[in-house]
C-alpha cells in the first residue's frame, strides 16, 4: 500500500477516535519528515534538537488541525503544506534571532571572538560529572535532562513532591555548570 492510501485510511480512523491509528500515523509521519525538516533547517545552523522541536510542532499541528483536511482530497499535499508552513515559521523565528545577533557592534563582536570558546561537554564526560552530584540530584537530573521524563513521573517514582524535584533539578544543574567550568 502506498503512503497516500495508508495515511488516508489511518487519518480517517484517527478522526473516528482510533488512538492506535493516530499513533501509527504520527509515528510514520515523524519518521518520514525527520530528514526533510533536518535538511531544510541545516543551513540555518539549527541543532538536531531544534529540528526535532520543529518536527514536534508539525506533529502537533497535524493532530490539532487535522479537521481542515478535506477527506475527499489527497492527504499528502495537506501534510506537505502543514510542514512547509511550520518550517517557514521556524526559519522566520531563527532569522529574527540572527537579526538580534547581528545588532551587536563590531567591537563587542571582536571581544566575543577573542574570548576562548566554551567547551561543550560530551555525553561521556557528562556521565562522569553526574557522579559528583548527590544521589537525589543525580537521579532527578538524569531522568529529566537525559531520559526526557516528566516532572510528575520523576516525583512519583522517587516519592517526592514536584516542587522538590524542580529544586533538586536546578541545584543539580548549577553544580554541573560549576563542575564543567
Amino acid at each position: 500500500m502506498d503512503r497516500e492510501t495508508s495515511w488516508t485510511s489511518l487519518m480517517q480512523a484517527a478522526r473516528s477516535g482510533d488512538a492506535s491509528a493516530c499513533e501509527k500515523l504520527l509515528g510514520e509521519v515523524a519518521e518520514a519528515l525527520r530528514p526533510v525538516v533536518a535538511s531544510r533547517l541545516a543551513h540555518l545552523h539549527c541543532s538536531e534538537t531544534e529540528a526535532e522541536d520543529v518536527l514536534q510542532e508539525i506533529l502537533i499541528a497535524i493532530h490539532c488541525k487535522g479537521h481542515t483536511w478535506d477527506d475527499s482530497r489527497p492527504i499528502l499535499p495537506w501534510i506537505y503544506a502543514v510542514t512547509k508552513y511550520k518550517i517557514l515559521d521556524a526559519m522566520r523565528r531563527s532569522g529574527r534571532r540572527r537579526a538580534v545577533l547581528s545588532d551587536i557592534g563590531i567591537d563587542e563582536l571582536e571581544d566575543r571572538m577573542a574570548a576562548p570558546a566554551t567547551e561543550t561537554v560530551g555525553p561521556h564526560e557528562l556521565a562522569q560529572l553526574l557522579d559528583h552530584l548527590p544521589e537525589r540530584q543525580r537521579g532527578v537530573v538524569s531522568a529529566l535532562a537525559l531520559k526526557g521524563d516528566t516532572v510528575a513521573n520523576v516525583a512519583r517514582d522517587n516519592g517526592l513532591r514536584e516542587g522538590a524535584v524542580r529544586v533538586a533539578f536546578h541545584r543539580g544543574l548549577k553544580t554541573l555548570r560549576k563542575l564543567a567550568g
Binding site: E23, V82, Y85
Partner: protein, 203 residues
C-alpha cells in the same frame, strides 16, 4: 519531551473538532454583516426606490457587485484557510484585491477627506468591522498557510456584506463615485483584515 512520548500523548488526547461546517458559519457571519448594515440603512433612511420596492439600476448594481465581491472573496478565504489547497485560490484572492484596488483608483488624485464620498467610505468600513471580526474568529479555528492574504480576503468579504446592506440607503447614482468609494472602503477593510489576520490567523 521525546517525540515518541509526544506522539503517545497526542493520540490519547482527542483532536479538537469544531462542530458544523465552516462554510455555513461564514455564511451566517456574512448574513449578520448584511443585516447590521441594512439596519443602519433603515436608521439612516432607505432610498426612495427601495422604499417603493422597485430598486433601480444604481441599487441593483451596488447590491449585485457587492454580492459578487463577497462570494469571490469568501470562497477564496475559505479555501485559503486550509493547507494544501490549489494555488488558483491564492490567485483569485489577489485578483479580487487588485480589482477592488483598480475600482478605488478610478478617479486619479488623492481623495478628499470630507464630502459625501468619504462619508460613504468611512460608514462602509465601520459597518464591515463586525463581519470581519466574526469571520476571523471562524477562520482562526482553521489553518491558513498565508494568514495575511486570508485575512485580506476576509476583510473584502466583510466589506461586501456591509455594502449589500448599506446600498439600501446609499443615495449615490454615479457609477464612478460608487466604484471609487466602495472600492476604497473595501480596500481599507481588506488592509485591516490583512493586518489582523497576520496575527490572529497564525498557528
Amino acid at each position: 519531551m521525546r517525540t515518541e512520548d509526544l506522539i503517545r500523548q497526542l493520540s490519547r488526547a482527542p483532536a479538537p473538532r469544531p462542530d458544523g461546517s465552516p462554510t455555513v458559519a461564514l455564511m451566517m457571519a456574512l448574513g449578520l454583516g448584511v443585516v447590521i448594515a441594512a439596519l443602519s440603512a433603515a436608521y439612516l433612511g432607505f432610498r426612495g426606490d427601495v422604499r417603493a420596492f422597485a430598486p433601480d439600476d444604481a441599487t441593483l448594481i451596488k447590491v449585485l457587485g457587492a454580492f459578487a465581491v463577497m462570494i469571490a472573496a469568501g470562497s477564496a478565504a475559505l479555501r485559503l484557510s486550509a493547507p494544501g489547497t490549489s494555488n488558483i485560490w491564492r490567485v483569485l484572492a489577489c485578483l479580487s484585491l487588485l480589482g477592488v484596488m483598480a475600482a478605488g483608483a478610478l478617479q486619479s488624485g488623492l481623495p478628499p477627506l470630507s464630502g459625501p464620498g468619504a462619508e460613504t467610505a468611512s460608514r462602509l468600513v465601520v459597518l464591515s468591522v463586525p463581519g470581519l471580526v466574526l469571520c476571523l474568529v471562524i477562520l482562526r479555528k482553521r489553518a491558513a498557510v498565508s494568514p495575511a492574504l486570508t485575512g485580506a480576503s476576509a476583510g473584502l468579504m466583510a466589506a461586501g456584506s456591509a455594502a449589500i446592506g448599506y446600498a439600501l440607503h446609499c443615495p449615490a447614482e454615479v457609477a464612478g463615485f460608487i466604484a471609487q468609494w466602495y472600492g476604497l472602503a473595501a480596500l481599507v477593510s481588506a488592509a485591516l483584515g490583512a493586518v489582523l489576520g497576520r496575527h490572529v490567523l497564525a498557528w
